[in-house]
């Protein structure tokens, strides 16, 4: 999968959120919460697809957040 501009932007945004969430505790939960509150469902599901198909581009915390989203059914 080659990432287009939009997907690259999503990756950048997600990694940036991972690097900036306020508390060092439960980073994955905070990222999941942030993208649930501020992203469209389509953006979240695109991120999930990128996580599966291009895992290397996403920070490990973002993968953990995707797992949280998947678990509570809001990831897609």
């Amino acid at each position: 999968m080659t990432l287009d501009y939009t997907q690259q932007h999503l990756v950048k945004m997600a990694n940036q959120i991972a690097g900036n969430v306020p508390s060092p505790e439960d980073v994955a939960g905070q990222i999941a919460d942030h993208v649930t509150r501020f992203w469209t469902p389509a953006m979240r599901s695109d991120l999930g697809r990128i996580g599966r198909e291009e895992p290397g581009v996403l920070a490990s915390e973002v993968h953990a957040a995707l797992a949280v989203l998947e678990a509570d059914g809001t990831g897609r």
Binding site: N20, P22, T40, M43
Partner: protein, 933 residues
């Protein structure tokens, strides 16, 4: 509802300003008892009792001066005839304002003035609006005994250099009101009385012309002048106005109130309203004079459509334009689904106009894809203050600054971008408050007449959070925490986590000095000043928000204010200085894709139920796309149509090439605006908008003050903007029936807990009100979080410093930061169409001498500025205001295309673009031309 305002007793000039004293004294004025606050002048007491004492040098906008000797009175038990403007009332004082002796004295004084004044009253521009004329009448002067051959000033010349007002020295009575207005009210000190005795005359600094002087054209002197000496050129050309309409300036977030004065239907001048809650009778050059764009020949007043952006525009009637748009929008919905459409609301439009656009998007288009141009300026304020305090707004009213002891200005330039508030702040600084400036540039406040910052933290662009953390580290480790405040008002668990974090050595000034470029000593001293100097207030601007850590920085400032107990009373607080007039209102009105009005998340079932019940339509529970997401989705083909209210995203949003690519990819771009602009080059529908002079509604300023905007002239296009939006909504199958803008506000009030008490009737009665205005606060709320925070307890948030990706590199070694100047406004669509261009005909790049020399760039040379996003050209100016390694420019002119070079980096939480840091390289343009593309 919109009656012209006739005589308003509140407009009466009482001669001297009110005192703040709470004790009162009782005096007798011509036998009538009057009770006034202690310290009130005899002149003011007499005015309050209904007796106007003749005056020339006194006005209630300025401190008494006592130079003209016109206002003499007799006081029982006192010798002589003291000046009533400079004599304070004392308990039991008995004053006579009319006696034969006083009449004679006043006539004598007036005779002297008139003997040196051109007697051309009948042909004078101020005939009927001249205090000298009125006073001569009031004292009954009928003849002048002095021979005309006596030495006089009747042949003194006129200075017409200012584009908006002229100075006719022959009419000057040297009352010094202009000089005092310039120093006391505006704080510019551009005028002096040069010479002595008969030789004395008003003079702009260094005997320059007004244009070449320090004058910033605020108009305060013109307002203060009792004669036709300083006079608006339009009054000279058109004559004295005959009717008035009160309204609100549509430029910056100060939200100054004005009285629009007209002759028939022609606007003659805008005069700052003394009753204005935000401005108390002051103004800046933009609101006072730069409104001519509203009748500029470039205005588009008929709707236009075209099939493709390569076609010419075709003028059509409203019906056809609306039908064309609805057809295209419906076709998009059918083929690509409802989320292929969206809208952008404008911070330049009224609350009512914004509200109907977001309602149309949510209810008629069936999507939450609505965002506002505040995305690119203050979205981090919304996020950061909501997280920490519980609501997305500044904490104070503007008047609060008058009780601050230490003022911290971060990433803002109030004297240029928020001039009327800047003047108020300077007044407090002249009274002795301390000033800490955190900015890469040496803004005017750092050193200006009678004002100097005690600390200027000249940090590297992009290191705000590092500096705030270092300040907070000092507060936490050196005993400046207000433990009582924190214990009583804040969430302790979050405070303790923050304290552990902020005390880490990595947040110490010493550790962060190298990164930020600010010495540890300076940070320690600034922290001690802010935290230990009494009432500490923070004011900030886009230099805080437009960063990759904009939201973090807002929370860092909130932490600092809470930790030091600087919240919840007069003189303190955390205050965003909003760029556009209605940024606050546009955000309040539910313009963000994740929030309804009043900042309530779309996923909140109970909130959605209220809206559904009133709007009669199901609403989506997931957030929609933000502007950058819409543009990205457009490039990848999923987002096909947009309604853009009053914003030129192709010029104002970052990385213009990407924006243009996105706009080009859409099937239906609708622009609602005054002028064709960069964005409309890619539009299929152009819906003519209304200027602020045609609008009927409300704006909400940076202090949450809801001000009325009243129509001064009818809409040039025949339709109010909200009516156009409603027509489109109806054509999309969702009619919105409002008979008047006030009904839209009634609906806002019904659905928004912080607005329940707001109505046009209330605003008519009170002038303005600051939200929250509801049952709990029927008079509004000047100061927020007084007893408790809106969210209950104040929430501390840890704020680790994360450097931006945008760093200087070998290829792009300089950091570009952007700002604005006084005479221009944003992308300049309005101000460029006024005579303000005399002050700023082009955008210029400021560069440090060493950086210029290294690149062979001289002052005034054409240069090419390039970043990884693109390149543009402008002229360079060698400047000492910025440190080496940093360059600075404004973005007021499309030709300089500043956003061609800004990148798509943005705030991590809100996607607010990182305008304030772009790595660039500069080279002389001639050399650049020689380089193949």
């Amino acid at each position: 509802m919109n009656k012209p305002i006739e005589f308003d007793p509140a407009e009466l000039d009482l001669g001297t300003p009110a005192t703040l004293a709470t004790e009162t004294v009782t005096v007798l004025i011509d036998g009538t008892e009057v009770v006034v606050p202690a310290g009130t002048s005899v002149m003011r007491a007499a005015s309050l009792a209904g007796t106007q004492i003749p005056k020339l040098c006194a006005t209630d906008r300025l401190d008494a001066f006592g130079s003209c000797r016109m206002c003499l009175v007799e006081i029982e038990g006192r010798r002589g005839t003291p000046a009533s403007c400079t004599t304070p009332c004392e308990e039991g004082m008995s004053v006579r304002t009319q006696t034969p002796r006083l009449d004679k004295l006043r006539k004598g004084v007036m005779e002297l003035y008139i003997s040196d004044h051109p007697l051309d009253c009948l042909t004078c521009a101020a005939n009927g609006d001249c205090e000298l004329q009125d006073t001569a009448g009031a004292v009954g002067l009928r003849s002048v005994r002095y021979p005309e051959a006596r030495a006089n000033h009747l042949s003194a010349g006129t200075d017409s250099s200012n584009p908006y007002f002229s100075f006719d020295a022959s009419k000057c009575i040297v009352c010094s009101r202009c000089v005092r207005a310039c120093s006391e009210v505006q704080g510019t000190f551009a005028l002096t009385i040069a010479g002595r005795g008969f030789e004395s005359k008003v003079s702009p600094s260094e005997e320059d012309s007004f244009l070449d002087s320090e004058c910033v054209s605020c108009g305060a002197c013109v307002q203060a002048c009792p004669t036709a000496t300083l006079q608006e050129k339009r009054v000279i050309d058109l004559g004295v106005p005959t009717r008035k309409v009160k309204t609100t300036c549509a430029y910056c977030g100060v939200g100054c109130s004005f009285v629009a004065e007209l002759r028939g239907d022609e606007l003659v001048r805008m005069v700052p309203d003394k009753q204005g809650g935000a401005n108390a009778g002051h103004s800046c050059v933009k609101g006072r004079f730069a409104w001519g764009y509203a009748s500029h020949p470039d205005r588009v007043t008929r709707p236009m459509i075209r099939d493709s952006i390569n076609d010419d525009w075709r003028e059509v009637d409203w019906q056809e334009a609306i039908a064309f748009t609805a057809d295209r929008f419906k076709a998009i919905q059918t083929e690509y689904g409802v989320d292929a459409l969206g809208g952008i609301t404008s911070s330049r439009c009224t609350n009512e106009e914004v509200y109907v656009v977001q309602k149309m998007v949510r209810a008629a288009l069936g999507t939450n894809n609505v965002d506002t141009c505040a995305r690119v300026c203050h979205s981090p304020t919304g996020y950061g203050l909501k997280q920490t305090f519980g609501t997305s707004a500044g904490t104070q009213d503007f008047a609060s600054v008058e009780q601050s002891d230490v003022i911290m200005v971060i990433g803002a330039n109030p004297t240029d971008a928020h001039p009327v508030f800047g003047s108020r702040m300077k007044k407090r600084l002249r009274q002795g408050a301390k000033l800490v400036v955190i900015d890469p540039r040496s803004i005017d406040l750092v050193r200006s007449p009678h004002v100097a910052a005690s600390h200027h933290l000249q940090l590297q662009p992009g290191t705000n959070v590092a500096v705030l953390n270092a300040l907070a580290h000092v507060v936490a480790t050196e005993g400046y925490i207000d433990e009582d405040f924190v214990r009583e008002r804040c969430d302790l668990a979050s405070f303790n986590a923050w304290r552990r974090f902020i005390e880490l050595p990595e947040n110490s000034p010493e550790h962060l000095a190298e990164i930020s470029g600010v010495s540890a000593d300076l940070i320690r001293s600034a922290a001690a000043t802010y935290a230990g100097g009494g009432n500490g207030a923070i004011y900030y601007g886009l230099g805080v928000t437009e960063h990759s850590q904009g939201s973090t920085m807002v929370m860092a400032m909130a932490n600092l204010a809470m930790a030091t107990g600087n919240i919840g009373r007069q003189g303190v607080g955390v205050n965003p200085l909003r760029g556009q007039n209605n940024v606050q209102g546009a955000c309040d009105m539910g313009s963000f894709p994740h929030e309804f009005s009043g900042y309530r998340h779309v996923s909140d079932d109970s909130v959605r139920e209220q809206f559904t019940a009133l709007w009669g339509v199901g609403l989506r529970e997931d957030p929609g796309m933000r502007i950058p997401n819409m543009l990205d989705a457009a490039v990848s083909g999923q987002f096909r149509g947009i309604y853009i209210q009053g914003e030129d995203i192709a010029q104002s949003d970052p990385n213009s090439h990407h924006v243009e690519e996105a706009l080009k990819a859409m099937d239906c771009v609708v622009v609602q605006d005054l002028f064709l602009n960069e964005t409309s080059r890619y539009a299929h529908v152009f819906l003519p908008g209304t200027s602020f002079l045609e609008k009927d509604g409300t704006f909400t300023n940076a202090e949450r003050r809801i001000n009325r905007v009243r129509p001064v002239v009818p809409p040039a296009s025949g339709m109010a903007e909200w009516q156009v939006t409603c027509a489109l909504s109806a054509a999309m199958g969702y009619p919105m029936d409002y008979g008047h803008a006030s009904e839209i506000m009634d609906e806002i009030a019904a659905l928004t807990p912080t607005f329940t008490g707001v109505s046009f009737d209330l605003l008519e009665a009170r002038g303005s009100v600051q939200w929250p205005c509801n049952d709990a606060a029927p008079d509004g709320t000047p100061i927020m979080h007084e007893q408790r925070f809106v969210r209950g307890e104040g929430q501390f948030v840890t704020t680790p410093y994360v450097p931006t990706d945008e760093r200087s590199t070998r290829k792009f070694p300089l950091l570009l930061t952007t700002g604005r100047i006084l005479s221009q406004y944003n992308v300049g669509a309005q101000t460029r169409r006024t005579e303000n261009t005399i002050w700023h005909a082009e955008d210029i790049l400021d560069i440090h001498e060493a950086d210029a020399e290294l690149r062979g760039v001289g002052d005034g040379d054409w240069i090419e500025v390039s970043s990884r996003a693109g390149s543009t050209r402008m002229r360079a100016r060698i400047s000492g205001d910025i440190p080496a390694g940093v360059v600075y420019t404004t973005f007021h002119h499309p030709i300089s295309g500043t956003n061609v070079i800004t990148t798509d980096n943005s705030d991590w939480a809100t996607n607010c673009p990182e305008y304030k840091v772009t790595a660039v390289e500069i080279r002389p343009a001639s050399a650049a031309e020689a380089v193949p593309a």
